[in-house]
Amino acid sequence: MMEALFTDYTLRTVALGASLLGVVSGALGGFALLRRQALLGDAISHAALPGIALAFLVTGSKAPLVLVTGAALAGWIGAALIMSVTRRTRVTYDSALGIMLSVFFGFGLVLLTYIQRIPGANQAGLDNFLFGQAAALVEKDVLVILGLGSGALVLLAVFWKEFKVLSFDRAFGATIGLPMKRLDHLLTALFVIAIVIGLQTVGVVLMSAMIIAPGAAARQWTDRLGRMIVLSATFGAVSGLGGALVSSSAHHVPTGPAIVLIVSAIVVVSLLFAPNRGLVWRRIREWRHGRELRVDAVLLDLYALASQHTSSDHPHAERVLNVMSGVSASARPTLRLLELLGLARKIDASRWSLTPEGVERAQRVIERQYGS
């Protein structure tokens, strides 16, 4: 299978195109995520639909470059409108997003329905832009993706530090003389390019996944911007490659959705298992911490009881400890744990006492908590 990646034209081309798309959308999507503009990618890709339809209606041409230009223009206008509406009216950002997304997309669908009555229109394959047609990528398409994509990445690298300030503290950037408004426009334009080159591969509806998912996954694994963007691009590339391979190994598996499924899986794994931020590890840490607190609490209770008697190994009833702990759960599981740790000892069916080690540890806990 892996050998076929190099020898088979179709697999090679689709995998290359999809991976390149993954790199570009991952890198730029990472920045979008940090600027809280992830859903803007969704709005832009949906806004592209009427752009494609109008490009066809106006020029009558079905050349991919023409349609993609229409998509880029419409996406850009959509983004500009959202910003403008947010700034000038009382409509909030997410409302403006939602409105623009549905209005543009709806308009696009209406145009498509109208176009379907025009003879020869179906040959333009406008419907394919909804979900993409990755399996039909040819060398020419990949060259376009490579050209536009590498241009976008070069600009990202050139203006890296300015984009960093733009994303972190825009107002401050303006005061040190950086042209924040123009940088904002530039970054948005690169964003639109990333989205638009993906439309033929995964389509309008699924493109937002390629923008949002790699960045969201990458954020889980690192706290450094450079590494996050590189990781995001890598996740995107892996998804593209993986989607092509999966689609190549079974019948009737469309490539675009396969890519999106893989990147979604990466996100789920990242959310759950990333070392610091992963939910699973956080749960485990919380549980361990909680257990430690319970151990210390019961230990101190035993110590308090013991200090009322002459010898520290005087046994105490479990019932008493239950009452002292004040929590609805019984103290028995914690007592068993203390026994395991060698800090307490079971005297008979329901009585416990501290071991010398237990006494020592209790004293240390008190020292730590209250100062000696």
Partner: protein, 252 residues
């Protein structure tokens, strides 16, 4: 013998900002001499942050002009440093303390070039001035409020500016940090710098600052603290609340 006129550090004329019909700042005139520590006080919604932002060109003005050392602000950006409110950024951004401070130098590094050894050293020195040098590699998400404030200050210090604008730098910081900040501001004044601070705590104005501007959409009064920070002016600025105002004035 004619005395030559020294340009004020900051010269604001007729500054007016309005959101639609509502005036936020109205016809503000202000002259700030160099080498002072000036507080800007006023009730909530008085326009204090907007005042700072409109001087810095971050907010569109309906009218007015700003001169820095006698020249328009746009020409004098390198001489001015800004410390925004801590809450204005997302501290979960993936970057560390040193990186944030070096951002202060991006305007001087120029396009395409990456900040190098020299910039790094300057940033570390600025961090040392605020007592945060050992935090250089720390993620900013792990900082306390006071530490965040100091990082912002270091970012401003690294620019080696003449005039500093700060927006509520004492808000929500611990006592140690507050002392450290005021020491820093005084040191700046010693070196002839001008510092304008939007300040939220009236009680500490006489202790920390030598000049003050009372602002409530209009400029109520401005000048040396002794002359201007009176009960009458406070009452005009804050409206009523007599006991509160009297207590503050008594502390003057």
């Amino acid at each position: 013998m004619a005395t030559e006129k020294i340009d004020a550090a900051i010269d604001v004329r007729d500054l007016t900002v309005a959101y639609g019909e509502k005036p936020v700042l109205w016809d503000i005139d202000l002259e700030v001499p160099s080498g002072v520590l000036m507080a800007v006080v006023g009730p909530n919604g008085a326009g204090k942050t907007t005042f700072l932002k409109s001087i810095l060109g971050l907010v569109r003005t309906a009218a007015g002009s700003v001169l820095i050392n006698g020249r328009p602000y746009a020409d004098m950006r390198q001489r001015v440093a800004y410390v925004p409110q801590r809450g204005s950024v997302d501290w979960d951004f993936p970057t560390n303390v040193l990186d944030v401070v070096m951002m202060g130098l991006y305007g001087q590094v120029g396009w395409v070039r990456r900040p190098g050894r020299a910039e790094r050293d300057r940033a570390l020195m600025a961090l040392d001035q605020v007592g945060m040098e050992s935090f250089a590699e720390r993620q900013i998400s792990q900082l306390s409020g006071g530490q965040q404030q100091r990082v912002f200050l270091a970012r401003a210090l690294v620019q080696d500016a003449d005039i500093y604008f700060m927006d509520e730098p004492f808000q929500g910081v611990d006592a140690t940090t507050e002392r450290a900040i005021i020491d820093l501001l005084r040191a700046l004044r010693e070196r002839g710098k001008t510092v304008v601070v939007v300040h939220h705590d009236l009680q500490t104005v006489p202790e920390y600052f030598d000049h003050v501007m009372l602002l409530n959409v209009r400029r109520i009064a401005s000048g040396p603290v002794g002359d201007v920070f009176t009960e009458e002016h406070l009452r005009t600025t804050y409206g009523g609340r007599v006991s509160f105002v009297r207590a503050v004035a008594a502390a003057t």
